[in-house]
Amino acid sequence: MTAYIIRRLLLLPLILFGITLIIFGMMQLLGPDKLLAAYVDPNTFNKLSNEELEALKEKYGLNDPMVVRYAKWLNGVLHGDLGWSVVGKMPVKDALLQRIPYTAELALYAVFPVVGIGIWLGMVAAVHRDKFIDHAIRIFAVVGWSFPDFVFGLFVLMVFYSWLGWLPPGNLSLWADEIVRSPQFHHYTHILTIDSLLNGRFDIFWDDLRHLIGPIMTISWLWWAYLLRITRSSMLEVLNKEYIRTARAKGLDERVVINKHAKRNAMIPVTTVGGAMVINLFAGTVIVEVIFNRTGLGRFTASAATQLDYAAIMGSALFYSTILVLGNLIIDVLYAVIDPRIRLG
């Protein structure tokens, strides 16, 4: 097991290297002209003469061989410099650092409803298989599963903002944003819900929360239904296992059979799938950030992609890949904790 973890950690830089290489390569397919477009104001771009264009390409190093440019980029990364983001109009690193907390906060809070509700309902449905409660939960899940998240997001926005005025879009209300940006407000963790409490500003905490609930509901919407289905079928499978029968044959109370003998086994596949989902929460925030007008990483990456801001694209890719690989590692460790067959080989 330890060997496995070490191997995975050693692989991490290799995977990252591979991913950036692929993305970099794909960007190069566009050719220097298209890449240049990202650096120049579109209004002036068409009016530039060929000589001027060449000069600009030279300036941004777009005429260098690909290997050289990649090496430059890589060298920068190793020195903590991810390049200049055209979209963000600041260094890529700063742009990422500014946006990651918003996305992280969203993903972090979305995990609880997804995992909590998904797994809990899945277990309940399995234990009461084919009873009324099982059917009700499954219908609920089918609806969740077949409703696209952006439709649901718009629906939430309509009902809770336009109609009821409870949940506003955006990151924060203006007044709160001002306070947060002022020097009196200390950023301990960069997660605003926590920082506001640490600063003793419950009003800001509440304001932040109101902005978060809509997006959280939308993100969770798709995933909990999915996790529910996996949990239910995993639990049903476990309940049919012979060791469950053995447990009952010992005269154990049905509660003990379910809670002690079934649940832990049922969690084994759920950990893998559920873990992968949680990781995807980080990546899957684009639509929600667009709908709710939040300045998060998803939205940033999306606009970087449309404008071929390749330093920014590579920076985000690097971040997402790191999250993915580390996340998967954590899943594997969890897996080993639950299942002694993995732990003890």
Binding site: A3, I6, R7, L10
Partner: protein, 390 residues
């Protein structure tokens, strides 16, 4: 009566690597089959028995070249087939080492005189070597490899244990049986259907059912289909790996009888792999007993049962419950403990950790397989010292 050898296995070894650690280095080997030699005569049934994990299936799969042998020779009908399925470079090295270089050395030392000390394929190939030289023999061996492969696949077929998973559930029975016939071009068009009907009739399946899917048949019927598939190519040797183990008691005897009938009708040679000594006793002419990747005893059936010499064979016989309550109180030999792991098999005689009559030498020196009587081979320092009367 001179018995013709159809298949000969010499010193067959198959080791599976175990990988572990940060770099998935090979940290050990599962010595699944560790130096097994035997011959199979035309038209006979050789039974292969032993407990789970002793390497029976691995022997079968390696014979079929579904596993690449680690070392050893597999000779079918007087041709060395070992290199048929090796990648070109390995095949070349194998031929070079096994024949060309060896023969060259022999020739330098003994010239034609070497012929006398050779037999079987060695002799045959040495003659070619003498006549056509090193490159002539090489050409003889490597020419038409694809044809050689095809004819090998035709000649050696397998029947699997599990009638449920060994048939493709999405294929109709007709196609399952016809697949090989078509691939080997044995028949075309209408002929194929006719062949399939004949084959199915031969195994007791109504030919009208050829358009059904496997799940529409019972376990016993599926095993019949599996047999029809194996026989479609008119093989010489059929390896049956636990072919009746998954079947119900009342169906088992049907399949055993069917296999015996077919053997007579088609002059088949069987290698019958089973963990059940009673079944093996019923079907076999000769029986080979395996333990932990080694062959411990090999003898004609009657000889083996009248005069078992290896303590493991004796223990195995005594462990089988006899379906007669009057024979209940006979003292059986209960072996202690489990079969050791094939990764680190015990030193010396592999059976010494469980052998009731082991002496000191058993844990130090490995007993070779020796012919103690004509046709009766045993690998034990003290053959016949464990007694048990049934």
């Amino acid at each position: 009566m001179e018995k013709k050898t159809v298949l000969k296995v010499e010193n067959l070894v198959k080791h599976f690597p175990i990988r572990a650690g940060v770099f998935r280095r090979i940290v050990g080997w599962v010595k699944a089959v560790d130096g097994v030699s035997f011959e199979v005569y035309e038209g006979e049934t050789l039974g292969l028995v032993g407990e789970s994990g002793c390497g029976k299936t691995t022997v079968g799969m390696t014979l079929l070249r579904l596993y690449e042998p680690t070392s050893g020779r597999i000779i079918v009908e007087d041709e060395d087939t070992t290199y048929y399925f090796m990648p070109a470079l390995r095949a070349r090295n194998y031929i070079k080492k096994t024949y060309l270089d060896r023969f060259e050395k022999l020739y330098r030392e003994k010239k034609d005189g070497a012929l006398e000390e050779l037999d079987g394929v060695d002799k045959k190939y040495y003659e070619i070597f003498l006549k056509e030289g090193r490159s002539g023999l090489y050409r003889y061996l490597v020419s038409n490899i694809p044809d050689k492969r095809r004819s090998f696949r035709r000649n050696v077929q397998i029947i699997f244990q599990d009638p449920y998973s060994s048939l493709d559930p999405r294929m109709r029975v007709k196609n399952i049986v016809a697949e090989g016939i078509k691939a080997h071009g044995l028949a075309q068009g209408e002929e194929v259907i006719k062949r399939v009907s004949e084959l199915l009739t031969g195994v007791g399946i109504i030919p009208e059912h050829m358009y059904r899917f496997p799940h529409e048949f019972s376990g016993g019927q599926r095993q019949r289909i599996g047999i029809a598939r194996a026989l479609a190519l008119q093989p010489k040797v059929v390896i049956a790996d636990e072919a009746v183990a998954a079947l119900d008691v009342s169906i088992r005897s049907q399949i055993i009888n069917l296999m015996e009938e077919l053997q007579e009708r088609h002059k088949l040679t069987y290698i019958f792999i089973s963990h059940d000594l009673s079944v093996v006793k019923h079907v076999s002419d000769r029986i080979a007993v395996m333990y932990l990747g080694k062959m411990v005893e090999l003898a004609p059936k009657k000889e083996l049962f009248e005069n078992p010499l290896h303590p493991y064979t004796v223990a195995l016989m005594s462990a089988i419950p006899i379906p007669d309550p009057n024979k209940r109180n006979k003292k059986r030999i209960i072996l202690q403990g489990d079969v050791p792991s094939p990764i680190n098999p015990p030193k010396g005689c592999r059976f010494h950790t469980r052998c009731p009559v082991a002496k000191e030498i058993c844990s130090e020196k490995e007993p070779p397989l020796v012919e103690v009587k004509p046709g009766h081979f045993v690998a034990c320092h003290f053959p016949g010292s464990l007694k048990w009367n049934s």
